[in-house]
Symmetry: C2
Subunit: 233 residues, 2 copies
Amino acid sequence: MKIGILGTGIVARTLAAKLAEREQDVMLGTRNVARTMERRADDVYGNPPFRVWRGQHPDVELGTFAESAEHGELVGHATAGAVSLEALNLVGEEHLDGKVLVDVSNPLDFSRGFPPSLTVCNTDSLAEQIQRAFPRARVVKTLNTTNAYVMVNPREVADGDHHVFVSGNDAEAKAQVTDLLKDWLGWKHVIDLGDITTARGVEMLLPLWIQLRGAIQSPMFNFKVVAAGRPQP
Amino acid sequence: MKIGILGTGIVARTLAAKLAEREQDVMLGTRNVARTMERRADDVYGNPPFRVWRGQHPDVELGTFAESAEHGELVGHATAGAVSLEALNLVGEEHLDGKVLVDVSNPLDFSRGFPPSLTVCNTDSLAEQIQRAFPRARVVKTLNTTNAYVMVNPREVADGDHHVFVSGNDAEAKAQVTDLLKDWLGWKHVIDLGDITTARGVEMLLPLWIQLRGAIQSPMFNFKVVAAGRPQP
């Protein structure tokens, strides 16, 4: 499948590498291709500059946000949440019309330092803002509740016995994303939370995730929903 | 131990009944004792009026908020989050001085219907507001992430193999509460998240909890934190 992934950070790279390994045709999207390839410094998280990663992954293409979205039959969104809406403005609505737009981002606000707060929460969410900005895209929120490495290697934590969530207004889009999470990434348990407003819950999970990352001293964890008296969803 | 629990709703009742069963000396606190005992209607959740419950639990005392706090060597807070600060104003600061104040409440705002939003979140939390209102109390946030029945019967879900969290500025208070969670209520796994600001994370878990309650169609569930390559905390 042709896949566009908006973003060139660690989440976009990790997803792209795994999907390319699964023989999908992936194009990452960025604001300015030349500038992204010229960068020589590590990013704020200590990840190497994009061109280093690109050298190791020649099978992944790089284009503008618009080219990446146009390329994709399915489009992923993995830009930094605080600048997502601005980045998405550069995509061009026509390149997302009718497409499944998988939003894996988090609206983290680092402007007051660490730990970050959220740029939007409680009565709205980044996923809802994106759905409103692209009313003809079929937005599915997922994967934002785990570390990038766990996203694509869920079985390295407790043999995959934990949960990922999907939120969205389009049942068919959620079903397709659920299949891809299982087939391409190896997820065992996917819970459909409901419409796109339920993205508020998974985005608001981030503060607890960040605190647990400190308490556990590792990002290699996830949440398992355990219930009494009935099989796991 | 003498215990005061502020509140007479389902959470306060459920905790009081369990602690009385464990032979602790419990006094619930309310704004107006006579009015609470006179109520004849079910509450908004369909729970019977307080006097019916009281008839079944004659070993649990009822007093004003101030009497309940004064009674307790340890004080629990289980009033409805949206009115908590107003209720706590009636307690009298001197009755909480130096005491462990266990806050199990959630700042749910039902004013726009269901699902509720939160009255405070992101850069503050109800637990922090309470700690600021009572700077000499030793506030520990815990148990707000599960249903009242699961709070006191954790082993009825997956034999207790799931997590509860504690947040607070006083390490000794958190250690004491952790012991009580295990000894009195039967919790197996307690994670110390850090200082009272980490209560933001557990309070912001509520929207996801409410969505999962709908997806699972039961309140009898909880979160288990699963991590790779190290024993569970």
